[in-house]
């Protein structure tokens, strides 16, 4: 059970984020929602990286008596998460700058009022 807690947290974060995107009207809050989803997915990747009894893949600081390389954990999920965080920052910055410009043009942050493009 205790090992499932991260997965429950992942699902909870994704759903909280989706709730914010779908039901919140403020654009900034929608952006926050997307960030929460992203954090949830990153947490999922990190959780996958945990292997019981494995050691960190650092050659110079291996504990005594470790089987090399079978006990070392592949650092792929960490690499994926770092990449994903970097991408997430770029998307976040772009979204916030768009929100700023939208506020300048429309004078509001309510998503229901920002719909000149419809039908």
């Amino acid at each position: 059970m205790i090992y499932n807690i991260p997965f429950i947290a992942v699902v909870a974060m994704i759903f909280i984020g989706l709730y914010a995107v779908v039901f919140r009207r403020n654009l900034i809050k929608m952006v926050i929602g997307i960030t929460i989803i992203e954090c949830g997915v990153n947490l999922f990747l990190i959780t996958l990286g945990y292997r019981e009894g494995g050691v960190a893949p650092i050659y110079t600081s291996l504990p005594e008596g470790t089987q090399y390389p079978s006990e070392m954990v592949l650092p792929v999920p960490q690499a994926l998460t770092l990449t994903s965080i970097v991408i997430g920052v770029a998307v976040l910055a772009l979204m916030l700058s768009l929100v700023m410009h939208i506020y300048k043009q429309y004078g509001t942050l309510d998503v229901r009022k920002i719909r000149r493009l419809k039908e």
Binding site: L18, V22, R25, V111, R112, R115, L117, E119
Partner: protein
């Protein structure tokens, strides 16, 4: 690499076939025939009289600038008939970014249900 025969090959579609070159030649011949037939038509109509004017059920003809039908009026009858459909479609395309995401989630849920996962 490309030979002349391969240019003229016919595209097989399982049951049918399609060869555009033959089609183009056939169309050209038909247009030629139409042009020749047109040559047999009457040429002795009187210009600048009622014979060359458009007939609008007896109504007077307006200036050309006023006669241009705007694009949104071209298929008026069609959209009027399908008004109920278009009302639904317009309501669907309401331009709200949250609803875009909602549609995405709905479709995802529907596909999950069909796949027997929920």
């Amino acid at each position: 690499m490309l030979s002349l025969e391969s240019l003229l090959e016919t595209l097989k579609t399982g049951n049918g076939f399609w060869n555009p070159v033959v089609w183009v030649v056939a169309t050209a011949i038909i247009f030629l025939l139409i042009y020749i037939l047109r040559g047999f038509g009457k040429k002795d109509y009187k210009k600048e009289t009622g014979q060359t004017q458009a007939f609008l059920s007896g109504n007077p003809e307006y200036e050309k600038e006023l006669m241009h039908v705007k694009s949104s009026n071209v298929y008026w009858g069609f959209t009027e008939t399908l008004k109920s459909v278009y009302d639904v479609l317009k309501k669907m395309h309401n331009g709200n970014a949250s609803d875009y995401v909602l549609w995405f989630l709905i479709i995802m849920a529907v596909v999950f249900i069909f796949m027997g996962l929920i």
